[in-house]
């Protein structure tokens, strides 16, 4: 018995991983899903998400979420930190690609009618994921604290603020005062790196679990 088998056996005796592994490995995926490239879109969005988490963690190591330091720290990432410019640029491109992939994935589901019984709730979770993804984009837009970031956020929170009844509260919660400032930055930073990542992770788990239970919908 070689070393790999012994390691496998050690874990199998404790966690019964053989049953788990075979159910994952042998789990059949329908042929149309493996051959049609349209079925890649959800996976592409998830790949982008993982790249965003990785690059985001590195960016957070250097970024300082205050109006005085934010711009300088982003400049520092772009010019001084080794590979900093590349990591930030990949974060930027992965974010845009993720939103495009989520939208195209949604169109695929819509036109193939894949949201029908029994998958209604997975569609609802999916629309929530789209909302969260765009909110990620919106909250990340402010963080570099350059002219575009500041003014786009000012207009964006202004628009959200003019929704009847709830708008006023949304705006107050987001901005944390009367004008975009230090409170807004820390709030957007918290939303971007804590609240949204936890929410999206839970919803993604639900999304995938439902696909697993109900199978991939199909037939063109």
């Amino acid at each position: 018995m070689n070393l790999e088998d012994r390691i496998f056996k050690w874990f199998d005796e404790r966690f019964k991983i053989k049953d788990l592994l075979t159910s994952v490995i042998k789990h059949p995926a329908p042929e149309y899903a493996a051959t049609n490239p349209l079925y890649c879109l959800g996976g592409i969005a998830f790949l982008c998400f993982m790249i965003l988490v990785t690059t985001g963690v590195f960016l957070a190591m250097y970024y300082k979420p205050t109006p005085l330091e934010a711009y300088k720290s982003v400049e520092h990432i772009m010019t001084v930190v080794p590979m900093g410019s590349l990591v930030r640029s990949i974060h930027h491109w992965a974010a845009n690609t993720m939103i495009a992939a989520v939208m195209l994935h949604m169109m695929r589901i819509y036109f193939m009618g894949a949201y029908k019984k029994p998958r209604e709730l997975n569609w609802v979770v999916g629309v929530t994921l789209l909302l969260i993804t765009t909110t990620f984009g919106f909250s990340g837009y402010l963080l570099p604290w350059d002219q575009l970031a500041f003014w786009a956020t000012k207009i964006g929170t202004g628009i959200a603020g003019s929704i009847p009844v709830i708008g006023e509260y949304i705006s107050l919660i987001l901005v944390g005062g009367t004008d975009i400032g230090a409170e807004t930055m820390t709030r957007f930073f918290t939303i971007h790196v804590m609240i949204l990542p936890i929410t999206i992770a839970i919803l993604l788990l639900l999304h995938f679990a439902m696909v697993r239970i109900q199978g991939i919908s199909g037939r063109l």
């Binding site: 049953d19 788990l20 159910s23 490995i25 789990h27 059949p28 995926a29 329908p30 042929e31 493996a34 890649c40 996976g43 592409i44 790949l47 982008c48 790249i51 109006p67 711009y71 400049e75 410019s85 930030r88 640029s89 990949i90 930027h92 491109w93 845009n96 690609t97 939103i99 169109m107 819509y110 193939m112 009618g113 949201y115 029908k116 019984k117 569609w123 609802v124 629309v127 765009t134 984009g137 919106f138 837009y141 350059d146 002219q147 575009l148 970031a149 500041f150 003014w151 786009a152 207009i155 964006g156 628009i159 959200a160 929704i163 009847p164 679990a209 697993r212 239970i213 919908s217 063109l220």
Partner: protein, 150 residues
């Protein structure tokens, strides 16, 4: 706990309905890995060719022009500019904000409950397909509108 139950459920079920299936490993995973490499490669390429920009530091007393939001919010801006009509006591601005943000997302959430047609055959879903195309064209139009009428 629940995940383990799912696995058992899947094993016990033994679906005779499935006609042609490929095992997840290696067939399905191989395609996923190939696509992942392509996308990761393209991201690195785009990031190297077109790095993320950084303008001048934020200045609350100097409004720059033009200010564009991210491309996926442009249609909201476009609709806000497009809608200039008051309806009764509702001012145009409130309608212009509420329709794309509240009503549009509300409709999206309700799609499976509005479309009760059980068929997933595209030829038997003419209304749903037509509405979907109208929605996409609408979003493209308002995106275009927001860029032109800046």
């Amino acid at each position: 706990m629940s995940l383990i139950e799912i696995e058992k459920h899947e094993i016990e079920e033994e679906r005779p309905v499935r006609i042609r299936g490929l095992p997840f490993f290696p067939h399905f995973l191989l395609r996923e890995v190939v696509v992942m490499c392509l996308i990761a490669g393209s991201l690195i390429l785009m990031a190297s060719l077109y790095p993320a920009g950084l303008l001048k530091p934020a200045d609350p007393f100097d409004t720059p022009t033009p200010i564009y939001p991210e491309w996926y919010f442009l249609y909201v801006f476009g609709f806000l500019k497009f809608w200039t009509w008051d309806i009764g006591p509702l001012p145009a601005k409130v309608i212009g904000v509420t329709l794309p943000m509240v009503l549009w997302y509300g409709l999206l959430f309700m799609v499976p409950f509005i479309d009760r047609n059980p068929s997933s055959d595209i030829r038997k879903r003419k209304v749903a397909v037509a509405l979907g195309i109208i929605a996409i064209l609408g979003i493209l139009y308002f995106t275009y509108f927001s860029i032109v009428h800046h």
